[in-house]
């Protein structure tokens, strides 16, 4: 016998991909509304759908690290605070977690990273911003300056995220999208899309400087910052190929900067 359909839902559109989360808890719908303000979609388009069961996940330990793997055609996602399964054929799945926004945030990041990997795109540990209609990405490990450079952005620059950049390969090139995934800044990015102009590998130093990166170093920098969970040979091959292609088609530079607003004088102004 089928379980009754969950009566409430929130539709969250990120990067042009729309995920419906179903629940029977009005309080959780409110929580999702706050968390994903600016990314809630009322147009009714649904690409993927998840039933949410707001209860402790069974069979996990609270300290478990994230695991993403394929089993019988299903993607399985587990961490100490959630379990989820997703059928890429039917585009449906379920999530079991306590009613908090952090677990569902992680599931969404994983699902989007899997979807993007199939099409040459990626989620990346990077801040990103739109200036004069072009997108710039600032990648780096924790402490490299992703949030700092976001805070220093002058008027007229639209922040897409200070933490998790969303890149898609489309027919006419690469595009960066805004995401609700925030870092220290603590606020979601602008829900915008813009052609990707340049990717900077961040380093803090005594002066503002932009340097070209060789192809191998560019690929290494990209691979070090791409968000990627699955232990899956096909996806590893796809991610590797995607990083190489991205480095071939979009300039990747090293940006050394001192933490003041003058660094933005360089962004988008250097010849590519």
């Amino acid at each position: 016998m089928n379980e009754p359909a969950l009566p409430l839902h929130a539709d969250i559109g990120i990067g042009g991909i729309h995920v419906r989360l179903r629940t029977d808890d009005p309080g959780f719908i409110d929580l999702l509304g706050e968390r994903y303000a600016g990314f809630l979609d009322g147009a009714g388009r649904v690409d993927y759908e998840f039933d949410m069961h707001l209860q402790p996940p069974e069979g996990t330990d609270p300290d478990d690290d994230v695991r993403v793997f394929r089993r019988d055609g299903l993607w399985c996602m587990e961490r100490g605070d959630f379990r989820a399964e997703w059928d890429p054929q039917s585009r449906r799945g379920w999530i079991r977690q306590e009613p908090n926004p952090y677990s569902v945030d992680s599931v969404l990041r994983i699902v989007h990273s899997l979807l993007l990997a199939r099409e040459g795109g990626m989620l990346m540990h990077a801040s990103s911003a739109v200036r004069d209609g072009r997108a710039f990405v600032f990648m780096g490990v924790s402490g490299a300056g992703k949030t700092t450079i976001s805070r220093l952005a002058p008027a007229g620059v639209h922040l897409l995220t200070d933490e998790m950049s969303y890149l898609r390969r489309e027919a006419d090139g690469y595009f960066a999208y805004g995401t609700p995934f925030s870092g220290e800044l603590g606020r979601p990015g602008a829900n915008l899309r813009a052609p990707l102009a340049c990717i900077y590998l961040l380093a803090q130093g005594p002066e503002n400087r932009i340097e070209a990166l060789g192809h191998a170093d560019a690929v290494r920098g990209l691979l070090a910052n791409i968000l990627f969970f699955a232990q899956d040979r096909e996806l590893v091959q796809a991610i590797f190929a995607s990083a190489i292609e991205l480095a071939e088609r979009v300039p990747v530079r090293r940006l050394t900067f001192v933490p003041d607003s003058r660094v933005w004088d360089l962004i988008g102004n250097e010849s590519t």
Binding site: A216, V219, R220, R233, V236, I239, I244
Partner: protein
């Protein structure tokens, strides 16, 4: 005399050559490896059927000023290290080669 050693490229990897460097990503754990010029030569020549001693003589000794015995000892050590990461397979019998991991 030691039995000949054969080496073949690992099957669960993605690889690409960048000049003299070869970048390899493990399909098991996504770990990224970078092979220098010497290791790249070894990896490129790892067809599973050519004995390592022959690869060393043809590839390494020809490219670098090193005696065959020393080069073979170093190459065996390197091959076993790479095999530990799944980048190479090592056997005392010929191995079936695969192009799955061959760097373009």
């Amino acid at each position: 005399m030691n039995a000949p050693l054969y080496i073949a490229r690992g099957t669960d990897i993605a690889a690409r050559r960048f000049g003299e460097e070869t970048m390899i990503m493990s399909g098991k754990d996504s770990e990224l490896f970078s092979l220098n010029e010497t290791a790249s030569l070894l990896w490129q020549a790892a067809d599973g059927v050519t004995p390592l001693a022959q690869i060393v003589e043809r590839q390494l000794c020809a490219a670098f000023d090193v005696d065959a015995q020393t080069a073979l000892r170093d190459a065996e050590e390197l091959a076993r290290q790479l095999a530990g990461h799944g980048i190479l397979r090592v056997s005392d019998q010929p191995l079936a080669d695969t192009d799955a991991g061959k760097a373009p």
